[in-house]
Symmetry: C2
Subunit: 356 residues, 2 copies
DNA sequence: ACCAAGATGCAAAACGGTTTGCTTTGCGCA
DNA sequence: TGCGCAAAGCAAACCGTTTTGCATCTTGGT
């Protein structure tokens, strides 16, 4: 059996040496070198059956020496589990989704899963199709999906979720998919507090720069704000800085009067502040501005942005936990959706309206 | 053979129906249903050998009907290619790395590769080890690595790169790994321009809030700035808003006199501006502040931040292209590192120093 | 000394595809 | 009529593990 070992070594090193990565060792080769069967090597690694201390030691030392690592693909084929989950986000480069991604990644890591990122480019159907196929080909065992727009009932997501695939919705629920577990923030409560806060400062005329129309979070936030400002003008943006700027620009042009701007996220709030600044309106002296999310720079810009803090990291973590737990359980049954609390953060961008 | 088909169908539907995902179809079953061998089905799909139009049609329709999708794991096992690449970043939730990730994702998508994200939590060795193992287990075919601190010569990365694995360094080169292809920005030129710009405004006393000490980009940026301000005080931060704030806080406490702050990234610049604001110093009237990167909100905060624009998206794209091209070529040989141009962006945060 | 029960370890059968070598058939052309 | 070659398809090997089902070897209890 020692001969076997040498044989392998010779074969190996006599191959032409080029710059390509050398062929990895197989369990077969380790077994031959140790003079045992692959079964024994496998059991040594998995511990599913006892292996004598002596043999195990020999095998382990050989493994270390060779630098052997079992092939993930073979393992996956046999076990049927890829050890990977997917995260589909509209755009991974957004702070917002980046936070979710990080939370997911942390939790996946904890459960010893890998994470495959799927940027859907704001729900480009072709992209989405590709990523749902990861589920079908069993490249990933489950998917965390964050919607960026209202999904029509004909969508890929619908059909795949109907097949009872392990899916969790993060950050945004999708109508028609009420049975799919989700992790969201308590948008309505946050918006209500925000509205109340501004109302109590004495404001009467407000505008709402909302997010994508039809998106559940947008609907909830607008509704929450309207509890305090029933007749607030609502315009829709796309959550980007520029649209905050543009919407306020249009409102000013239309001659709409307001002393408070509710932006449905901090980025649009920043854009709004910029436009107001350019119009010679001071924040918060002339106009109060609030956002939503509490992004990293919300507290350090001048003035500090009054907003509602969402724990995106936790949304990511909880989504992943939901998914991974249900994978471990082997069923999505009994998985409860989660709604996370939010927190009003009052900073310098809100103040009583001008006396006039 | 039609009987075979029915047999399969019966077997399938007689299984207990629960909420778990139904077992996927195998090529075996499709073949049986079509009355051909698996070989023929495989060839129909791959086109590596001709299949008669009639047979192909029958097979294809069956595939559609069943919703058959070939198992990625089996495919990978036989072909040895996983169709995945990895991206290791210190923290995916940072705007900066998010941009890189998006660029990588775009390119990977173009080349029909999947992307596995590896958050290294600022080079936590255990995390890194896990991710390098993805390479070893052949879960990923190649890795794009963005360093966040100076890597010691004993690190995992060193050993793995020595084994000629397909690795590309993005955004940051690593000393000792000069032979590994990389994609970086022309930091020195950007910093030089920045320094010259501030110098030409008339400033004489400047401080530099640098990034991690020892990081190549930090060294280059500091050197570039020092061409115009040879005696600038240098303090080191960690690229976060808070450290920009803290370092300036310390400088003020130490009584260091300066009329310009060079921050090595925009986040620290924002933190610096915040601290200056709290100290009653106006930007840019009393102190000019510049950053580096040109993050999304650099142009919309007040005052706008003078900075150097790096194209992170392009860094991601180019890194991915380098990696994927070399995977296609089967060798890392002849792969050229890339250095991307940067652009000085002058905004409102810089102005001549106060007259006094 | 004898037997049941663990401890060990092996051979072989999956897992679900891809690929190779070989057979059979159909067809054009001398 | 016969020959050669391309087209079409099958069986079987293979990829590198995990997981049975069995054999063999100890060991302790009686």
């Amino acid at each position: 059996m020692i001969t076997d070992c040498k044989t392998f070594c010779v074969v190996r090193y006599s191959e032409p040496v080029d710059d390509a990565a050398p062929k990895p060792w197989t369990m077969q080769q380790i077994a031959a070198a140790a003079g045992v069967s692959v079964t024994t090597v496998s059991h040594t690694l998995s511990g599913k059956r006892p292996v004598s201390t002596q043999t195990a030691l020999r095998i382990r030392s050989l493994i270390d020496q060779f630098g052997y690592v079992p092939d993930a693909g073979a393992r996956r084929l046999k076990s049927g589990r890829s050890g990977m989950i997917g995260l589909a986000v509209p755009d991974i480069s957004h702070w917002y989704f980046g936070r979710i991604a990080r939370g997911v990644e942390e939790m996946a890591n904890e459960y010893d899963y890998g994470l495959i990122i799927c940027s859907t480019s704001n729900s480009d159907p072709r992209r989405e199709k590709r990523y749902f196929n990861l589920l079908r080909t069993r490249s990933i065992e489950g998917l965390i999906y964050t919607a960026s727009r209202e999904i029509g009932p004909t969508d890929e997501l619908m059909s795949i979720s109907a097949s009872a695939s392990p899916i969790v919705l993060a950050d945004e629920v999708v109508s028609g998919l009420e049975r799919v577990p989700s992790v969201t923030s308590l948008n309505s409560a946050g918006a209500r507090e925000l509205g109340r806060h501004v109302r109590e400062l004495g404001h009467r005329r407000a505008v709402i720069v909302a997010g994508f129309e039809g998106l559940r979070s947008t609907i909830e936030r607008v509704a929450g704000i309207r509890e305090s400002f029933p007749d607030a003008v609502v315009v829709y943006g796309d959550f980007e800085v520029q649209s905050g700027y543009d919407r306020v620009d249009e409102l000013l042009a239309r001659g709409v009067e307001f002393t408070a701007v509710f932006a449905c996220n901090d980025y649009m709030a920043v854009g709004a502040m910029r436009r107001l600044h350019e119009a010679g309106l001071r924040v918060p002296d002339d106009v109060s501005v609030v956002g939503f999310d509490d992004i990293d720079i919300a507290g350090v810009i001048t003035p500090g942005l009054t907003t509602v803090r969402q724990d995106m990291l936790e949304i990511g973590r909880r989504s992943a936990r939901l998914l991974l737990e249900s994978l471990a359980a082997g069923t999505m049954r009994g998985i409860e959706s989660v709604t996370l609390p939010v927190e009003l953060v009052v900073r310098g961008s809100t103040a009583p309206p001008p006396a006039s």
